[in-house]
Point group: C2
Chain length 537, copies 2
Amino acid sequence: MSSEKNDAQKTKGVSRRSLLRMIGTVAGSTAMYNAMTELGFAQESGYAGPPKLGNVKAGTSVLILGAGIAGMVAAMELRDAGYKVQVLEYNNRPGGRNWTLRGGDTFTELGGIKQEVKFSPGQYFNPGPWRLPYHHQGILHYCSRLGVELEPFTQVNYNAWVHNTKANGGKPKRYREVMADFQGHVAELLNKTMQQKALDQQVTRQDREMLAEALRRWGALDQDMKYVKGRASARMRGALVNEGGGINSLPVYSDPDSLSNILSSGMWTALGRGQNFESQTPIFQPKGGMGNIGTAFGKALGNLIKYNCKVIDIHQDEKGVTATYIDTVRGGQPQKATADWCVCTIPATILSQIPMNVSAKKKAAINQLPYSASIKIGIEMKRRFWEEDDNIYGGMSYTDQPNQQIGYPQWGYFSKGPGVLLAAYTFDKEAYRFTSQTPEERIRHALDYGEKIHPGKYKANFASGVAVGWHRSPFTLGCGGRWTEEGRAKYYNDLCSLDGRIVLAGEHASRMAEWQEGSTLSALDAITRLHKRVMTA
Amino acid sequence: MSSEKNDAQKTKGVSRRSLLRMIGTVAGSTAMYNAMTELGFAQESGYAGPPKLGNVKAGTSVLILGAGIAGMVAAMELRDAGYKVQVLEYNNRPGGRNWTLRGGDTFTELGGIKQEVKFSPGQYFNPGPWRLPYHHQGILHYCSRLGVELEPFTQVNYNAWVHNTKANGGKPKRYREVMADFQGHVAELLNKTMQQKALDQQVTRQDREMLAEALRRWGALDQDMKYVKGRASARMRGALVNEGGGINSLPVYSDPDSLSNILSSGMWTALGRGQNFESQTPIFQPKGGMGNIGTAFGKALGNLIKYNCKVIDIHQDEKGVTATYIDTVRGGQPQKATADWCVCTIPATILSQIPMNVSAKKKAAINQLPYSASIKIGIEMKRRFWEEDDNIYGGMSYTDQPNQQIGYPQWGYFSKGPGVLLAAYTFDKEAYRFTSQTPEERIRHALDYGEKIHPGKYKANFASGVAVGWHRSPFTLGCGGRWTEEGRAKYYNDLCSLDGRIVLAGEHASRMAEWQEGSTLSALDAITRLHKRVMTA
């Protein structure tokens, strides 16, 4: 493709987006929506297709620091545009937080604690990202390009458990029961209010009739607009014994809980997660483990990536950028890698500790960015008791215990043999509490919590486990960028801006922090701006 | 397994179930729930495990009419219990309504209209059942037993379209937009009512605070408890341009629609389907087509099934049951098949036309049962424009046009090349309207409707189609049993009861009509009662 054509497309792309923003500002969002439709713009993603960089002068080089998603997206696109690319990576594998643990893998955290993964052959655990929403079109594009096969991920399992230590005698309830009871009572309340004419100001008579019908359906109300034990509520909450076949097949209905119990128990907080934009179906996961994306990128980039490189200094001058690094395996004297330009995807937690001559503003932006703490614990169970005994296939159970949730494996449904549970996934205070313990203690506690939800099954089926606390991972020192609104307003543009010959990229340099899509879009934006600078330099 | 042990288990099983019903009746459902938990009873299904029939006297024979799911479940279990089994089937294949159409298949409906399926290799369409809810443990058991591999089915696609010819200028809206706008306005209304103290009688002060917080989340309300354009509502409805990475990555929010528009447009009727017990995630489908279940059953039963047999008479006397049938391929004189007992799974629509000496009550029950009419149209498209252009992966779009919905293929996501859409799925009046036309006209109309939802794409990518109207299928004469409450009260037990040496089974002889689980549970109940009679005869 000629660079002339590419430039035309780039200009067209940029001006189209600007045009849309202008229409949005001036004429309102409906006009913008229509304009977007006319222009064939994909409205549900910040992603607007792979970048059209055009060819660069032969020999122009870019040094990329970090072979996570952002670094490898940048490397692949820059390579394709004709740049000479080299990537330095701290780990002995590509992917960064995009990572899957399998039997035989090891993980050494800060302080030197080393865990060996002892899962059975074929079993795996994603300690980092685990979900790809349908609207994350950037990372999905690279999955498609790299041939990474995807399969559906179930966010909400209506038959999974909602558990609260202080409610219902500590016994879990099915998600569908909690949901139906909440919706049923709220619908009944609102309809009652409407009948008492409290809404006559806000809702027309005709709308009120339709609203009542909508509430009846949404709340599983009976013909008297009551949420009570019976056929109507069973259509949503299920029955004790469902309808069957032949003689003696009548259902046995169950008693709804009261609204007050649902509210005071805190069980309602488990509801609605699947309705958030980021959790709306469909969601996907790579078949065989999230780490397959990183592995496929690494394979595609081949020897452009140099592993086991710990960067200790980054220096730029008018001619180029030099990174000084130590080979963490072979040791020896610090080595240097030099290029005309640099895309740095090292997390701010680590970058803030590496000497780098950038502006004071960028330094401040890097230094101020807080990172979240989080932990994920994976436990292999000898058999899939959640499927066999509880009819739970995928999705999550929620609890008010420190482990927060149990995620069930989203593959191999109905198979006999083992399965790996996400036995804990929690942030910040609770994550620190877990990592104050040894890995063995973390797993033991996760087993204690799980036993409350699957009594008699959880501990009895324990095979092995691994606990990854991201704030104790030497290659991230945190889970991801935790921007505050104030921090974002003050520092975000300084963090992202091109500084001489250096540009930063990664989830922390995006408005979708802690998502692989953020890493992807950040990288695409960074290299687009970098390329523009290169072409006009 | 000795018959003694089997009998003990059977007795235990029966008495356990009876015990539970007694507890439920006397002590209430909470007590029953606890008792069920104690007894290890699977509470979410009418299915209580495979039947434990025990061995029968060698040579005892059963004639089974129909090799659909009910007939084949009965055949397999009776065979395993030692019965001599023969199955007569009208079609030249096993499965009945469990059926998948592939390129090269043909379907001849009443009146002799023959359709040839012209799908590309690997493409398929399920004209009958297409979903297996997680709680349909009976049919799921047989999938597992027969090695039929299952994969997830997405019921609700938040990014699919909701379309109403009379609303929004005929332009479809995203499901997530309609849902968010409905919930947002309802939450705002209810909270406002609460603030005006209209609910002070019904809800305590403490509960009101939590309810407000629950409404804020559920309704995506902002900090002022308003549902308006902005960050909060975008968390559920999505934005025109989502947040991105790097510089220039601010989102562009969209304007919510008014509650009045959502209600008067009828778009709200598309909501909430995924919350019904039968549509709650997870749901499964056999990989490669629903018909794989029927095929696997057929393979397992081998030459116990005789195909191309049109039953024209069923007669019982004190010694046994004789079915008279015609070989629809070879023709010739009517032939006879005789056995000690008979399980008849022929649909009531057809059975009502076959002479059979059963009680007047059973005759009346068979004759009165109405069947639903329905049609499914499958259309192969040359490329997956719904994925590539609209980011719709699986799930359904809804419309007020006669085709009612468009179902997107639930496999092969992100693949290039063709895909088969469910282009129409509708019942009764609209189904009759479709079948009053030739197959070509049905498909042409389905294309017209689809073009409104995917303008410029739908007709342009048409490859081929097939339209199966179940009320015109010669082996069912309807989609399934459509029991009324009155009919059920008056006739259901008469339909299901053992009449001399004949017992009926099938979805129509269950309380889960039109579901394969109904067929399965009906068959299990029928053969359990039949076996009991045999053992005491």
